[in-house]
Symmetry: C2
Subunit: 196 residues, 2 copies
DNA sequence: CCTACCGATCGGTAGG
DNA sequence: CCTACCGATCGGTAGG
């Protein structure tokens, strides 16, 4: 049974901020507790372990990425590869900017998970990347994108996109929409056979 | 006085492998010592602190990136923006693949430095990125690259390039040269006004 | 480079 | 959610 009370959610919020700022390993259980104005040991009334906190953040972020990619695909049912890729890039950036802390923890701290959790997340990341890769493959085969290695191209693209979670600030120069505009243009240019 | 003996270099080598694999904060001084078959306390015959080990790795990696970019620029004295950017991308990828452990520690663990060291590295990273950014700016102004935000474009590009340090394996499918070929093509396509 | 040791802090438990 | 506490481990020092 996963606790879902307000306090449990607050733990994820402050923990994701601390993990984002300093990393999972450099954040102690007492750091999290202090941010909530409770004792370190009191945290264990809500969670079974420090790793459980990481897991709930990573699992939730993974679900957010999956759901928004799913939505993007459903909402563009007969899109060509160019439109489909633009929709995936836009969805990815929306997810990141909607919650950069959760996203950056998902992107950079999941390796601190152990055992089955780590394996599961690795598989879900692969499946997520496969959506980008197969869209690129299709685009290459129909001549919308130039000849390239789709695995390399999707890695190139996704690492650039994920980088946003590390530098994005809500009070920064560019709004999420403007960032998405620029990144979609760069992404499509990088792949397209012959633009305009 | 910085010690530069063989043992000191061996410390950096095993430490960069461990920091690369598990992160700085999750690596203990005794982990490093164990990999060298010595006692934890014996490490302090060679280094003054754990952070000094991180610093020497990060400082050396930063110098390697700076030197290879410098070399790329000197070797292409009258390059146009497209050629200059290709040279910078190639140099960056060469530096990463020549030593992915050092590079990934530089890219992902520098935030664990404290005080002046952290400030210095942040400034050196900014100066390094400025080379990419100003090359892009020039390219836009002479019409070689399409209209874009050069700051966003250089961030897009450098995060994609730095990502290589996290996934590259010497025994992987693609050689450093092939990776560089693909990335240069993707990078130039993403920026160019009108290719071929 | 070793043994012996330091105080501080770690994640976590017991019992209320 | 608290107090009190656990063994393990942390980075680091002293003295050889």
């Amino acid at each position: 049974m996963i606790e879902t009370g307000a306090r449990r959610r607050a733990i994820d919020e402050v923990a994701s901020e601390l993990f984002h700022a300093n990393g999972y390993a450099a954040t102690s259980v007492r750091d999290i507790a202090r941010a909530l104005d409770i004792q370190g040991a009191s945290l264990y009334a809500h969670v079974a372990s420090k790793e459980d906190v990481l897991w709930s953040i990573v699992d939730r972020a993974a679900t957010a990425f999956e759901a928004s990619a799913e939505r993007a695909i459903i909402e563009t049912p007969d899109a060509d590869p160019t439109e489909r890729l633009a929709a995936l890039v836009e969805a990815h950036i929306e997810t990141i900017t909607a919650n950069p802390q959760h996203s950056s923890v998902f992107v950079t701290e999941w390796r601190h998970l152990s055992g089955a959790r780590r394996t599961t997340i690795a598989a879900r990341r692969d499946a997520y990347e496969a959506r980008f890769r197969s869209t690129i493959e299709t685009g290459v085969s129909v001549g919308a994108f130039h000849a390239m290695d789709p695995a390399i191209a999707s890695t190139f693209l996704l690492t650039a996109l994920n980088g946003i979670s590390t530098w994005y600030r809500p009070d920064g120069r560019l709004s999420p929409d403007r960032i998405a505009d620029h990144y979609i243009e760069l992404a499509l240019h990088s792949l397209s056979e012959d633009h305009r």
